[in-house]
Amino acid sequence: MIISANSKHYQNLNEDLRKAYAKHKKVTIKDVNGQRYIGCGLKGDYNLDIFGTPGNDLAAYMDGPVVRVSGNVQDAAGNTMGSGEITVCGSAGDAPGYAMRGGTMYIKSNVGYRCGIHMKEYKNSRPAIVIGGCAGSFLGEYMAGGIIIILGLDKPRDAEIAGYRFATGMHGGVIYLRGGIPKARISNEVMALACDEDDKKIISQYIDGYCSRFNYDRKDILNEEFVKIIPRSKRPYANMYAYV
Amino acid sequence: MKRIYAREQYCINCRLCECFCKTAHSVSKDIIKAHKTEKPEPVSRLFVEGDNMLSFAVNCRHCDKPACVEACITGAMVKDPETGIVINNSERCVGCLSCVLACPYGAVKAGNIAYKCDLCRGEEMPACVKNCPNRALIYIEGGSER
């Protein structure tokens, strides 16, 4: 089923989409530009193929569907997502994967500020974000679980793979970054370690996912070592308070 | 080995070390019972010398070559080869008090038998050090003694 977004207001578009979901598991949406909440709260084994630039809160609270975006996504894609998959063939705006509880996001290129903020995991639900390019500041802020992998592909020579205050307040989960990042950018709450065999397995699995989606060669990614960032403590602020 | 050292510049003559030592060496481990009702009355293993102007707690040095051990006639006084703690075995002590006379520091206390500091036997922090309100007692690695 193909739907054209063609300058529709998001309410009209999403109304059309809801009708489409009643009959079709696979929906292609064309000419998207700025319409918010596409796939928002959608549950089930749907397949959305989006052409254009969807608006904010793409696939928020989504549970299950597989979404592919041919262009960039705006802010807060995958907001509080429960499960499913988002593939972005361009860049993501600020706060992608905010409070994500499960599922996977593959972003071909860069992400804005606060990517993966407050991601968390519970039982078998382990969210993951794979970023092909670089990230803005506050990557993995408050991160409480899940996996972020950041590749820094096509990174400009003088740039860093992520902005300032990397993993600030992180108290769970793991971030794998390809190559290094200056210590000054990393928060005090985390430590950088070399990857062990288990880590390498996880990285390899997601890199396969990345390569198959964006037609990349594994070799070009695995030519650099990955560093693992994990929190020093589950309770970084346990000693900060005095009770009266 | 870790030993207790007194810092007279901070000793304020409150003598809480004595109270807490006595309690630590009581059966009840309760400060009020130890001081008021427990029989036989527990004995503090250290004591504060001096007055408000200048005071310090006198305490066993747990010497490397303890004179008290040499002087002991029953073998009650022993230095544990592993921990270095010098302990008076109350079962074997007959109260001859040779050790009291032998100790160059006056750190062994005379009673029915001899009483002395046992570093609270394996506690991470001896009671006197833990309860000193002014850190006048410290428990540190301080090199050798005699």
């Binding site: 207001h9 998001y10 530009n33 700025g34 918010r36 254009g52 630039t53 608006g55 904010n56 960039n72 705006q74 802010d75 860049s91 705006g93 600020d94 804005g112 500020y113 803005g136 500041s137 902005g163 300032y164 000054a184 | -």
Partner: protein
């Protein structure tokens, strides 16, 4: 209910700008299209535009756009203007009836030069003289409000959605080389035309998204230098800060932007000695000009613009460029609607100004 100026009203927004890099004028229809796409970021209680290069025939004159609530305000203001300026031309700003635009005040414009004798005896240059006159009208003539006072530029604003405001002023009929636009989401304004954006002073114009938490610290700081914050809006105080730092203190636009969004101390601490001294001096001296809280702004001026985000980047701002033009908007889609395939497209970083100037 108190209007803005009597009470401070928080608001959120959408902003956009388009500039032709060769300063070639183009119609306002493009910017209207861009801002209209972000309709969900406004609530119909304010919209506006600033346009640069629209009055080439009067480019020597200050173009004063004034709202009048009543005839008496107009009489008083015109008396003041006649005393202080030589009016070269004046008239009503043409508008057309538009659904959604109601309760219009009288909207006039004057092309004026400072009265020579008064100017000379004031001891001020013509910018400072005009700025003071504008501040005086706005603070002392009830019902009169100068909402634009630059040369060869003008602001157009109203209570309504921005696309309605564009239609109301017939901006598709104007041609400018630089347009900025604003759609407003105030929490509770009774709808005062003067409160809409852009806010302008002389050739500065600002469109702004976000609410700054440092407002009173900034207000009390600029008021030390002769400004009066009549509107109690963030936009007004930010405009004055730029005017103070650039026009009066002589800082470059980039440096002024770095004062408003000063680097964090730990970043300054890690700088090379010379840079460190520079930024420490700037932060220590201009601490009252640090803007705190979420904002993204586009500052228009003669020949260019500055786009700036707060240092934590709490608001979104995208930029794009093609061969002719440079674009800014709160959302990428608002750029793509007028420029589907830009050569480059990027997100403006926190505390890092993007300064774009026309060539030549």
């Amino acid at each position: 209910m108190l209007k803005e100026g009597q009470v401070r009203i928080p608001s959120g927004c959408a902003i956009a700008a388009i500039m032709d890099k060769q300063a070639k004028p183009f119609s306002g229809s493009e910017i209207i299209k861009s801002i209209a796409l972000m309709r969900d970021r406004s609530n119909g209680l304010g919209g506006g535009f600033a346009a640069y290069g629209i009055y080439p025939e009067y480019k020597e004159c200050f173009a004063l756009h004034i709202f009048y609530d009543n005839n008496q305000a107009k009489t008083l203001a015109e008396e003041f203007l006649n005393n202080h300026f030589d009016i070269k031309m004046c008239g009503v700003i043409p508008t057309k009836p538009t659904a959604g635009i109601k309760n219009s005040p009288k909207i006039w414009r004057y092309f004026a030069l400072p009265n020579k004798i008064r100017l000379n005896s004031s001891g001020k240059n013509e910018d400072e003289y005009t700025a003071r006159c504008v501040i005086r009208i706005n603070s002392s003539i009830p019902g009169a409000y100068v909402f634009s006072s630059g040369k060869n530029m003008g602001a157009f604003k109203a209570v309504g959605f921005p696309e309605e405001v564009g239609e109301f002023y017939m901006l598709d009929e104007y041609k400018a080389y630089l347009w900025t636009a604003h759609g407003r989401f105030p929490t509770n304004t009774p709808g005062w035309w003067g409160g809409a954006h852009p806010f302008t002073l002389l050739n500065w114009s600002i469109v702004h998204n976000g609410e700054i938490s440092s407002y009173d610290a900034n207000r009390r700081y600029v008021e030390m230098f002769g400004y009066k914050c009549n509107l109690q809006t963030d936009t007004e105080v930010i405009t004055y800060l730029f005017d103070l730092l650039v026009r009066k203190q002589g800082l470059s636009l980039e440096t002024a932007a770095k004062v408003l969004t000063a680097p964090d101390w730990d970043i300054i601490d890690a700088m090379e000695q010379e840079e460190k001294e520079k930024y420490t001096a700037l932060r220590a001296t201009y601490s009252g000009a640090l803007i705190n809280g979420p904002f993204s702004i586009i500052l228009g001026f003669d020949g260019g613009l500055v786009a700036l985000n707060d240092r934590l980047k709490l608001r979104a701002l995208m930029a794009a460029e093609d061969k002719e033009k440079i674009y800014f908007a709160s959302e990428e889609s608002a750029i793509r609607v007028v420029c589907p395939n830009p050569d480059t497209l990027w997100s403006v970083e926190g505390g890092t100004p993007v300064v774009a100037k026309v060539r030549g």
